[in-house]
Amino acid sequence: MTADSEFKRRTVLKAGSTAVTATFVATRTATPAAAAQTESSVDITLRVNGHDHRLAVEPRVTLLDALRERLDLTGTKKGCDRGECGACTVLADGRRIKSCLTLAVMRQNTEITTIEGLARGDRLHPLQEAFIRRDALQCGGCTPGQIMSGVACISEGHTRSADEIREWMSGNLCRCACYPNIVAAIQDAAK
């Protein structure tokens, strides 16, 4: 089986699991790392994008690595793994957090929203639309984090001026430097 066909098979599994809320078995073995359990592993349930995922992780596993390496939710990116770049930003009960700086075991009973959970079916979130319209992305490496951070920036009300947005979006680095377009996109979506 080639890498690609395997990838497609998993995508199908994942798509299936979102249609039916609780197909635990499918998500649990989404990746080899998810299948690897050690003595210190603990069983946890993560609620991500409205779906419960049961998985066994060691307590040291970050939320970011649980999402990416266990649940195959790779939209959330790892840029630094130490809270400096913002690429891993997700929402936890509506608040923006850096998922590399929190452990998966600490985030049970939390409503986690990742970039994959923002659109409603085919309908993009207004900020996702605005990012495309304003060309607020280039390579896309920072983009999921920027958008999650931007969604929170809007709900926090930190959008009264371009300068205020600049300040409150400065925890999300963009090496392609789409900053003015990111500000414009957030202004659009905040309207």
Partner: protein, 716 residues
Amino acid sequence: MTVGQPVERVDGRAKVTGAARYAADRTLPGMLYCHLVMGTIARGRVTAVDTTAARAVPGVVEVFTHENAPRLTSEQHFMPLQGNQIHYNGQIVAITVATTLEQAQEAAELVRVTYAPETPKAVIADALAEVYLPANQEVIVGDPAAGLAAAEVTVKQNYSSPPHHHNPIEPHATVAQWDGDRLTVHETTQGVVNAQRTFATAFAIPQTNVRVLAPYLGGGFGCKSPVWPHSLLNAAIARQLGRPAKMVLARSQMYSIVSHRAEFWQQLTLGAKRDGTLTALVHVSTQQLSRTSENMYSHSISSRMLYACPNIHTRQQGVRLDVPTSRFMRSPQMASHFGLETALDELSYELGVDPVELRRRNYTDVNPTTGERFSSRFLLECYNLGADAFGWSRRNPKPGSTKDGHEFVGWGMATEAHDHSASPSSAMVRMAADGTVLSQTATQDIGTGTYTVFTQVVAEALGVPLNQVKVELADTNFPAAALSAGSGTIASVTGAVNAAASAVRTAVVQLAVSNPASPLHGLPAEQIITQHGYLFSPDRSRRESYRAVMARHGSPVQNTSTMTNARGYSTGAVFVEVRVDPRYGRVRVTRGVGAYDAGRVMNRKTARSQMIGGFTWGIGNALMEHTVLDRRTARVVNPNLSTYLLAVNADVPDIQAIFVDKPDPVSTALGARGFGETPITGVPAAIGNAIFHATGRRIRDLPFTQDKLLRELLTQ
């Protein structure tokens, strides 16, 4: 007409939903995780590696050191783990392999390495006696000594800039899988074709046995151009252990094994007549080289190409140090260009000539080094357009003349220039029986907009709507095409894409006019108009859709074309406003305008984004970016994003991009030239020049940090 329009990125949806899969996002059944152990001395030998504790970590499958690592050679790089010699701090000294990432990381912490260290040297200042001139690094045009003797005014100054690290937001990642002697690699690479060759050579297998994919790349900026040794080691480990292997670099590891921009010292000597025309330009530079390579990547190209000057001397010296080998970094001209454009500003004050006017007086249509005429050049228009948009004519030239509250306000400018690369490339275009179009080529979209621009090119060549076209990139199963580096992607590959699409159009038109069942039957093929997915008769009285022609034909129409392209020179002018708070030496850039001649603009939206990105890199280089090397240990002191500062959102003001937008006649890319690196080149000098205008203080060492400016402001 879609080429040139501000079309939205066709890969935008995948990128804003998280659906785009980058190399690190690949997970394969049975996959192992590799993690690197980095050395902690810069020079000497490894005497022992104790892997006992690392091997005891549950889940650890293997630990590789120089004693048991797979034997490999690299085409282009020093290959670690093949012996016990250490050539720079942060060299790979071991690799742990485990079932999970956490296990591999833990094991890496537990590897104990013992060294026999020697005293290293890391910075130019510590090795001045060892500065030398490598082969072919000196160019002399005319008689520079005579030119200086004939000068009425001379400016002679030293400038310097620190090492820089590329720091794409996506760290390097590689996922390798073997099937017998066939290898598939998901690689963070700016060039899948180059990568394929490098892997094939390392494993002595035919190139066709290697498939490299990089459909999405989270930024490259030069540090993902080559395949680095760690990727070869990861693939070798996958082969030896018989399981797929994944390796993602930690951010800190990106400061020693994926290259940097070298520390750069330079001296500029400009000789000029009173009217400002240059009589001589002497540019002597020195940059860091590694112990294992003499290659240099910061070139004084601007001094050789940009201004009319009959007598030019560039001398690019190096000094071998215990540091990693440097590499191209987004706009390799930046460092030398900073010296040239600052020296010109200094000359403008010596002469009392406006800085824009001084540059106009030294404008040339001819490459001063080769005597060749530039194929097209609208730099004078750039000066005019940029100066007008900025309001330059309102500038009071006197330094320190404008204050606003506590802050000094200053305006500065510089010319921008970058010579882009070009290489032969092939592309395939196929119209399916249902009329949809697929184009495939093994170049990349590293964030610059390649997917979108090629979609526009194919749609326009065929006369079909954008949504009828799908472009696929960065898979070595596709026709070979250019590396995405040196701003060369669009310039190198557009011609082939356009030629293939045009050939398909010709073939489909022929199918229509030659078939009695078509309403266009019998019309001369060359008179057929194609638009909106239809073929029209010249008077538009008759038409048939592509879809109908193809349905009748019943099978795809396909063409693969190859094109070469010429290198080109994209120039422009950048204007900036800064505000300096003299109490803290703090500089903020508050306005920026750039006007560019990049040939034809293919997509106004993505071109503008490239300009904003470049300008912002310029802000970073001017105000904050610098890699700090500890002189004792030759180690990077700030290998992370909280102390290697990049420009953040709050650092970037409103920026205006203006394009002359005139096609370059020698470009086969529909008149386009490469552009992505041009808009960085002049920004550091323009900011420094603006700081001088604001305060009367000249800083000649990048970056212009608060400590340096405060020192200047407090003396005299």
